[in-house]
């Protein structure tokens, strides 16, 4: 129970940070939703990274490495290390510049202004909201599981999920973006420092990493976990598309708007891969090694949930007080759901409430209050869904949130780079994503038993796998969906009229000609 007490102490600190941020706030919408666009380089890096470091990173990755081996690092980590900072460099900086100049607070505001789109913007908002909810559910579910495991089962999952949801709701409700950014920075620092201690302690408990690895390599059943043997190359290729989701996630888009200067992006872009290395490498490695630990293997077999392997490792090898601190570190990652909740609230108040005249009628204070009420509502829904779902964390997130947002990324790139893109192109892309994700969800519910769904001349083209749906040789739906969405944006744009030249000149200003090149008439 000492571990649980330490975690509760940590939760109290986090709540206090949120309330402290509330005292520093200025009660305006810009301050509550965007921290007055004032985040400096260090907080920007730590909070942006913390936002992306969710329960998938700690619990999901180690759980999947327990089952499939070290290849999980290549699937999600090294691909993210290349793609995410590159997309932030290419599109994030431009989203920031346009946002600062034109006053955008959400990606949908940017889309509406850039493409002169009204109702289509509302459609994109609805789609983003539907796709973001599963990601929030992941956080609440992970919180419940973490507290359950840390307390040795004395805190039920539903109660643990409720506590996590309440704390997150508390500091987002009071602290808004400033509170969320500070909490995320604190959480990232905590995990980076104590994560290192965890690796040393667990390695020591296993009798040293070298001997643990040698034991596994001597066992023909376990040795493949230390190779890429269990990684289907087509799945590995598919996972290159998943990190594209980051730039399309509204909470990342909104975070890009919070930087004080563009120079804040420099350190974020450079250090992001190294942060990924520091967090993911130990999680995946320990997850794979835990398959060779009899205590962990039997506990997972009994409980049936590999997402708990990291916590079981801590409880087995670390002293109780340290396990508590490290459990708090895991909790830190799990609670990254805060920025998604705040993003949904920002989107609702800006893209729906303010857009339909709510702010002009009821004032800015009412807008902030609406945002806070929305935070309460969303967290409550996420809690209920989180305690009633049974699928593994990793699979829920990948299937719906990551796939959908990766397929939405062509809209972001078209808005930022392609002058000829139009609102109907964006609508076609968004509609393709909605239809594709609905199709995947239908397929998984209609075909519950793994097997071939559709084949052509004895070649399986659509397959129901134990964890979801796949295409030819294991290619994941994210690949065709992203390509189809790109095609839809291009075709839809080329077939329709571009935005007015006034709008295009605002977003793509003509280059300024030097005075000496002008002819004197």
């Amino acid at each position: 129970m000492i571990e649980a007490v330490v975690v509760f102490f940590y939760l109290a600190i986090v709540l206090y940070i949120g309330i402290f941020a509330f005292r520093r706030g200025t009660r305006t919408g810009e301050d509550y939703f965007l921290a007055n666009r004032s985040l400096g380089s260090v907080v920007f890096l730590l909070s942006l990274f913390g936002t992306n470091m969710t329960s998938v990173t700690i619990l999901g990755s180690s759980g999947r490495a327990f089952r499939d081996g070290i290849g999980v690092y290549g699937l999600m980590a090294s691909s993210s290390a290349i793609v995410i900072p590159l997309t932030i460099f290419l599109a994030g900086t431009r989203i920031w510049a346009h946002g600062k100049r034109f006053g955008h607070k959400t990606p949908v505001q940017f889309f509406r202004d850039r493409w002169e789109a009204g109702a289509i913007g509302t459609f994109i908002f609805a789609l983003q909201a539907v796709l973001l909810v599963p990601y929030i559910v992941v956080g609440v579910k992970g919180g419940g599981e973490t507290l359950f495991a840390i307390s040795g089962g004395s805190i039920p999952r539903w109660f643990g999920g409720g506590i996590v949801a309440s704390v997150v709701m508390g500091y987002v409700f009071f602290g808004g973006m400033r509170g969320t950014a500070w909490v995320n920075s604190f959480q990232t620092l905590l995990f980076l420092s104590f994560g290192f201690a965890a690796v040393l302690v667990i390695g020591n408990g296993m009798g040293g990493f070298s001997s643990a690895v040698e034991r596994m390599l001597a066992d023909p059943h376990l040795a493949p976990l230390l190779t890429l043997e269990r990684m289907n190359p087509y799945v590995s290729f598919s996972f290159l598309f998943i990190p594209l989701s980051a730039i399309a996630f509204p909470h990342i888009g909104i975070f890009c708007l919070t930087a004080r200067r563009m120079s804040s992006f420099r350190s974020t872009v450079i250090f992001y891969p190294l942060c990924i290395l520091a967090i993911w490498m130990p999680c995946v490695f320990l997850g794979a090694l835990s398959a060779g630990e009899p205590a962990v293997a039997s506990a997972v077999e009994a409980g049936g949930d590999s997402d708990q392997v990291m916590i079981i490792l801590l409880k087995t090898h670390a002293p109780r007080w340290l396990a508590g601190i490290l459990g708090a570190g895991i909790m830190a990652a799990v609670m990254a759901t805060d920025s998604q909740i705040l993003a949904l609230s920002t989107m609702f108040t800006e893209d729906v409430f303010a857009y339909h005249g709510g702010r002009s009628r009821f004032g800015e204070r009412a807008q902030v209050l609406t945002g806070r009420m929305f935070v309460l509502g969303v967290t409550a829904v996420a809690f209920i869904v989180g305690i009633t779902t049974t699928q593994q964390i990793f699979d829920i997130a990948v299937k719906y949130a990551f796939t959908g947002y990766a397929a939405l990324s062509p809209l972001v790139f078209a808005a930022v780079f392609w002058k000829r893109s139009t609102k109907y192109g964006a609508f076609a892309g968004a509609l393709t994503v909605a239809a594709g994700v609905a199709c995947v969800a239908w397929l998984e519910s209609a075909y519950t038993v793994p097997g071939i769904v559709w084949q052509w001349k004895d070649v399986p083209l659509v397959v129901r796998t134990p964890s979801g749906a796949a295409l030819y040789k294991g290619i994941l739906p994210v690949v065709p969906l992203t390509l189809l969405s790109s095609l839809a944006v291009v075709c839809g744009s080329l077939l329709t009229r571009p935005p007015s030249s006034a709008t295009l000149d605002r977003y793509f200003p003509p280059p300024v000609r030097p005075l000496e090149s002008l002819e004197v008439r």
Binding site: G74, A77, F102, P233, S263, L277, A354, Y355
Partner: protein, 84 residues
């Protein structure tokens, strides 16, 4: 030219990410415990940081900084000014 080189480097990194030529190998163990495939992907992550440093040094979009600093031309404050 700089952009072409950076684009090629990005393509090379993404190609190297697949690492299919070492699928069945666990050895050699780096530092005596790190399987070769994991060490390879770790090095690839460090290479990604190097590549992104090059992007920042060689292709930093400085004009956007000016654009962001310019006086706000907000048509969107609260969203009411947007086209309906």
């Amino acid at each position: 030219m700089k952009r072409l080189v950076l684009t090629l480097l990005a393509a090379v990194l993404l190609g190297l990410h697949q690492g299919f030529w070492m699928r069945d190998a666990a050895r050699p163990l780096f530092f005596g415990f790190l399987p070769v495939a994991l060490a390879y992907h770790g090095l690839l992550t460090i290479a990604a940081a190097g590549f992104l440093t090059l992007c920042v040094k060689l292709a930093w979009p400085a004009h956007l900084d000016e654009r962001g600093r310019s006086p706000s031309e907000s048509r969107t404050s609260g969203g009411e000014g947007l086209p309906r």
